[in-house]
Point group: C2
Chain length 211, copies 2
């Protein structure tokens, strides 16, 4: 049996963006059953840090194996499921490059932009910094759009790389940057998957004040 952790409550602005969504989505794509262990954001269990060193979600357990970091967990699931990774070793290696690209080259500027827009929009320092980070995000999205030109997904069919990349693109939800880069169709293809919709509904329903 697989267990993953998620928060029982987060502020509305980040609902649908919390990183357990990536793991839920991967498990839905792979067709693997799982249970969710809800963690109180403001009152975490004392020993949770032994499982997740930053005391964040998601953490993951499978037959006694405890994992953390959404990227590592999604890659672990992809190694068990042809629904998330090409089987040809060269294609799988290229897919893994894109998964790292999403996490290490696209997510950092996206995360900084989200932080500015969600938390610091009214601060003077953020107004000076923001145009620099927008330009950085735009360069990354242009690189992604160029690589995707004429292709439906990053490497062959839908894979873990698209799952993580789409999750990262969603962080710019208060801006029009994804559409301006010509990536709306790509993001729509990923978000339109039944496994994503099921995972998203699962995250949203698990918040204690869910409608």
């Amino acid at each position: 049996m697989i267990t993953l952790t998620a928060y029982s409550w987060v502020p509305p602005i980040v609902r649908g963006l919390v990183r357990d969504l990536r793991v839920r989505w991967a498990l839905e794509e792979a067709g693997l059953p799982y249970r969710v262990e809800l963690i109180d954001l403001q009152n975490k269990p004392d020993d949770y840090r032994d499982w997740q060193p930053w005391s964040q979600v998601p953490a993951y357990e499978e037959d006694g194996l405890r994992l953390f970091e959404s990227g590592a967990i999604v890659l672990h699931i992809a190694e068990k499921s042809p629904a998330l990774a090409p089987q040809d070793p060269a294609a799988k290696a290229r897919m893994t490059c894109w998964l790292f690209a999403a996490l290490n080259s696209v997510e950092p500027p996206m995360q900084e932009l989200a932080l500015l827009d969600f938390m610091h929009a009214d601060k003077e320092w953020a107004k000076v910094r923001r145009p620099m980070i927008v330009e950085f995000v735009q360069r990354r999205l242009k690189g992604l759009a160029d690589a995707l030109a004429g292709r439906e997904f990053l490497e062959g069919g839908f894979s873990a790389a698209d799952l993580v990349m789409a999750s990262v693109l969603r962080m710019a939800k208060l801006t029009n940057l994804v559409a301006e880069a010509g990536l709306a169709d790509y993001l729509g293809r990923c978000e339109g998957r039944p496994a994503f919709q099921k995972a998203l509904a699962g995250q949203l329903a698990d918040f204690k004040d869910a409608a």
Copy 2:
């Protein structure tokens, strides 16, 4: 034969930090021969973007397989070499969590701090932002130090996770944060490895104005 790309020149402040160092280090640990293709930072080949979508270094080629993203390349090398990964599947999965943690949870705040200190130290917005990012880095380093308590390396012996984590810790070189977190011995153990010293000397010697 393995080829990787590196820059023929970068500003002195980032020498010893450019990400091809991670790949050189991994190849030295694995004992795999390689050649370096130098890229002019200010005049990149037109088709380089086909190999590396952000037009950065490192890019990697091995028997026609072209890879990018330092994390993906190091993990690819680790999959071929017991010098960089435990052979037990559970230990390897935990090692992979730490590799992603270095890249996705520790490097983003480290990178932002380095950007502030290397490029914007005199700007008013950076002076307001800096204490927030220092506090974020400190929290991450505390999580890392707690996880390392009583251990030499992140998962068993030295692995790709330590290689990437140490590379990330080196980015705080203008601060005392690593030592204050009790991580100087850990970083010293990693930097003291002959393979690291050889990789570092290689990067520094390849700059066209190297002494």
